[in-house]
Amino acid sequence: MWLAPAPAAGGESVSVNGPLFYLGATAAVAGAVLVVTLKDLRTAVMAFAGFGLALGLLLLVVGADLVAGLAVLVFTGVVPAVVLAGMVLTTDPPGPGEDDARARRPVLSAVLRRWPLALGVAAGVSALLIGVAAASRGDWVTGPYPSELLDRGTTATLGHVLFNSYALPFAGAGVLLLAAAVGATVVARRDRIERDMDRAERERAERAERVRRRREDRIRAREGRRPGDSGMAAAIPGDEDGG
C-alpha cells in the first residue's frame, strides 16, 4: 500500500539531495530578487522564466515531480508569455526608467512606495514566516515519507488522489480556468463606447484632412489667377477663418 511508510525510511529527511536543494533554493531566491529589482521589465520577465526553472528544480529535488513540471509550465511558459503579450499590447510598456520620479505621483503613493519601506515590510513578513517555521520545528513532522513515492514518483499517486479525493476541486479548477478565459475575453474586448469614441476621433481626423486639402486647393487656385481679380476670392467663403 502506497500510504504505508517504509520501515527503514529513516525519518523525514531521507533522499533529499542537499547540494541540489541549495542550488535550486538559491537560484529561486536570486531569480525572485532579480524579478523585483530589475529596472527593465522585459528583462524582469526573462528573470521570472529563470525563476520558474529554479522552482521546478527545487520541487523536483523535494520529490514533487508532477508539481515541478506544472511549475515549469506555468512560471516559465504561461506567465511570461501572457505578461509579454500584455506588454506588447500596451504601446507604453514600462521599460528602462520605469521607476523614475514622475511629476504626477500622488503624495500618499510616493510615501507608501519608497523602497526602504517596502524592503522593511518584506523583511518583516519573511522574518515572521521564518520565525514561525523555526519556532514550530518538528511539530509538523509526523512520520517518514512513504518510500514508494520516492521510488516511483508522485505522478500516479497524485493522479489517483486528484480524481478520487479531490475530484470536485479538480473539476472546479477546470471551470475556473474556463471562466477565466471567457472573462478575460469579455474584459479585454472593446466595448461600444470605445468603438464610438474611436470612430468619432477618426471622423474628426478625416474632416480636418478634407478641410486642409480644400484650403490648399483654394490657395493653388488663387495663385493661378491674375493679380487684381477678386471675384474668385469672393466666391470662396470660409477661407480666412481656417475652416
Binding site: 542537499g18 523585483v36 514622475r102 503613493s109 513578513v125 514566516l129 479548477a173 477565466a180
Partner: protein, 105 residues
C-alpha cells in the same frame, strides 16, 4: 546537515517576502503581477514542504494536490489580470499604478 521542513519553509518565506517587496515597490502593473506570482510560488513551495515533511503518513499528497490546484488558479489569475491591465491601459493610457488614482473615470 540534512534537509528538513524548515529549510523549505525558509526558502518559501524568502520567495514570498521578495514578492511582497515587489508588490510594494514596483510601479508597473505588470511588475506587480509578476510579484504576485512570486508570492503564489512561495505559498506553493510551503504546501509541497508540508506534503513532503508534514503529515506524510496519513495524507502524503494532500499538500501537493493543493499546490497543483493553486498553480492552476494562478494561471487563471494571470489571464484575468492581464486583461484587466489592458482595460486599465485603454481607459487611462497608462500602466503605472501611481497614475491610476481614480476609482471611476
Amino acid at each position: 546537515m540534512s534537509i528538513g521542513v524548515t529549510h523549505l519553509l525558509v526558502a518559501s518565506a524568502l520567495v514570498f517576502g521578495t514578492g511582497v517587496y515587489g508588490v510594494l515597490a514596483r510601479r508597473s502593473l505588470f511588475g506587480v503581477l509578476l510579484a504576485l506570482q512570486l508570492m503564489l510560488a512561495g505559498a506553493d513551495v510551503a504546501l509541497v514542504a508540508f506534503a513532503r515533511f508534514g503529515d506524510a503518513v496519513r495524507q502524503p499528497l494532500d499538500g501537493t494536490a493543493f499546490a497543483f490546484l493553486a498553480m492552476l488558479a494562478g494561471a487563471a489569475e494571470v489571464t484575468v489580470a492581464v486583461a484587466l491591465v489592458l482595460l486599465a491601459y485603454r481607459r487611462h493610457r497608462t500602466v503605472q499604478v501611481d497614475e491610476l488614482d481614480e476609482l471611476a473615470g
